[in-house]
Amino acid sequence: MTHQGEVLLAVNGLKTYFSTDDGVVKSVDGVTFHIKKGETLAVVGESGSGKSVTSLSVMRLIPMPPGKIVEGEILFTGKDGVQKDIVNLSEAEMRKIRGNDISMIFQEPMTSLNPVYTVGDQIAEAVMLHQGKNKKEAMDVATDMLRFVGIPAPEKRVNEYPHQMSGGMRQRVMIAMALSCKPALLIADEPTTALDVTIQAQILDLMRKLQSDVGMSILFITHNLGVVAEMADRVVVMYGGRVVEEGDVVEIFKAPRHPYTMGLLNSIPRPGEAHEPGQPKGRLEAIPGNVPNPLNLPSGCAFEPRCKFAVPDCSKAVPALEDTGHGHMSRCIRWREFEQVQAEVTA
């Protein structure tokens, strides 16, 4: 990795709330993280933990109403080298950033493309918008982009409609569209969740290849820890709208400092752990309980009701995000004890 550690995007104390009929949903409640140039940052967490809302906040695509960014700043350094706070930009300035400086890929390749325009048109639209090219030139770019993402016969495919393509191909089209203006930051919101493992492998492979070609940063959102392990440089773990742990990917996997992260890691069956025939089967170590109701989060640590390490102090106040050393942060009052536990385990 050849980046100088220059920060591309810095999110500080972001709060995005939704006002619904039942009350205010604090989907993102004081999230802070940053991405450096050329880096891949993975955001993991259960469904509803606020991953998508965070990424949409960065794009300023939160549906308003009911959503609103209530607090915080999103500092972004665009292609022009100027740092801006996305929260305060005008809609027109924001439009210049979207698709140009920051692009986004969504989870559902089947529904994220407009069914009535050809994929070429849809890619070309971004190109025409941001690079001032005419329709023909833009279509050429689109064809090139399709070739770039490995779609065979791009000259033909460019004139096809989304429904004529499989899920994997559509996701490639989405990527082509996102990369067509060579953005500095690519936000990928669960880009492979809807795909088969074999197709997922293709797409992840492609993204890695493209990143090294284009040199962009990626904000990679997923709940698949396997994918995180493969893709990320650093990881942010979210729970109940807050960051509960942040750190280098190896650290997170090898030495988690938050019970939620640990639970998550224990929940996944690892390939190769299958029992021998005739042997008793092993058990997964599941996190008990359910994802909390976003309208009714516990007053203290959001994970407290499901945490096997919970102590009375946990429910008193929201724990602070503390640095456990070399940029590894945890939002658990007992993080120090885990260091010990792990040390024992490794021993």
């Binding site: 794009m59 695509l61 809609e91 924001m94 439009r95 210049k96 950033i97 979207r98 698709g99 140009n100 692009s103 986004m104 969504f106 559902e108 529904t111 994220s112 493309l113 407009n114 069914p115 009535v116 050809t118 849809q122 639209e125 971004a126 918008l129 941001h130 409609y161 429904h163 989405m174 569209m177």
Partner: protein, 327 residues
């Protein structure tokens, strides 16, 4: 495309057949016949009534009449002779259908011209004051029986005429002395006459469509691909008109084929109220007079058009929506 159309034709044969039987026998079932009113004429003798009955073939059994009619239709392509007009049905209704067509065309244009912008506005500014105000007006219009609306409009026009002296036409399709006008003046004259009924109809009907469009727009605006478009940095206008609108109107575009029979069956009540020489007054008249073949013939034509219109709808849908294939 061709096999699709062929299949449609084959499938529609039983429908047409059933419809023709139904309509024919329903007319036959109705009490009395074309000659009933003549019976009340103190001057017409029984002898004369018998003569007329024979002349119109009304003395034969309904089944015989139906078979003759069918035979005529299949082999001669003619829909029978109108009792009232003593002419082939097609000749009589064709000019009326044409008249209706003008009205319906203008109506359709106005209908969409009103409903689309208002519906889109309602969706884009959902729950704004303007949206709410429009909604209230729409609810009101939806509740208005169109003939009631028409009556009030006629009255207002009359008042306006008296107040301003403008020559606003109250009814009909052309002015006195139309035949001696220059061609351009003729067109303008007809347009002048069409405007009010078309507008009244369009406004009262647009309420429904407006709400459909609003709902559709809201639905599409929530979809993932609109978010994708916004993520590309397109302007609000592009997001709405290029991406949302095109998808939102798919079901409406598909319904346009269904307008065909509607176009031909005329604009209904409004034609009666404004004494517009469209097809509706003629058919109502024919129903009252029990002009058997005129009604039956007309129904067959509209049924055929319905079938054609449905096929057309499907083709149109395939044209506007690349996901759908005809075949």
């Amino acid at each position: 495309m061709i096999p699709f159309l062929l299949r449609r034709v084959i499938q529609s044969i039983p429908t047409l057949f059933l419809a023709s039987i139904l309509i024919f026998f329903v007319i036959q079932l109705a009490p009395g016949d074309f000659l009933t009113p003549a019976k009340l004429n103190p001057g017409i003798s029984q002898q004369q009534l018998d003569n007329l009955s024979a002349a119109f073939g009304l003395d034969r059994s309904p089944i015989e009449q139906y078979l003759l009619w069918m035979k005529n239709m299949i082999f001669n392509g003619d829909f029978g002779l109108s009792f009232q007009y003593q002419q082939p049905v097609l000749n009589i209704i064709w000019p009326r259908i044409l008249n209706s067509l003008w009205l319906v065309l203008l109506y359709t244009a106005l209908f969409y011209a009103i409903a689309i912008p208002v519906g889109v506005y309602g969706a884009v500014r959902q729950n704004s004051l303007g949206d709410k105000a429009i909604n209230v007006v729409l609810y009101f219009l939806l509740g208005f029986p169109s003939f009631f609306l028409a009556l009030i409009v006629i009255y207002l026009i009359l008042k306006l005429r008296n107040a301003t002296g403008w020559d606003i036409p109250i009814n009909g399709m052309t002015s006195q002395g139309f035949d001696s006008m220059a061609p351009l003046a003729q067109v303008l004259d007809v347009a002048k006459h069409l405007l009010i009924p078309a507008l009244v109809l369009a406004i009262s009907d647009a309420a429904g469509l407006t709400r459909v469009i609003r709902g559709q727009m809201l639905e599409v605006m929530r979809s993932d691909y609109i978010r994708t478009a916004r993520a590309k940095g397109v302007s609000e206008r592009t997001a709405i008109w290029k991406h949302t609108f095109r998808n939102a109107i798919l079901p409406i575009v598909a319904g346009i084929g269904g307008l065909l029979p509607a176009a031909v069956s005329g604009a209904g009540f409004i034609e009666v109220v404004y004494a517009y020489p469209g097809i509706t007054p003629m058919i109502l008249d024919a129903i009252n007079a029990q002009d058997l073949y005129l009604i039956a013939g007309f129904t067959v034509i509209t049924t055929v058009l319905l079938v054609v219109g449905n096929a057309l709808s499907d083709i149109l849908l395939a044209v506007v929506d690349p996901r759908i294939k005809v075949g």
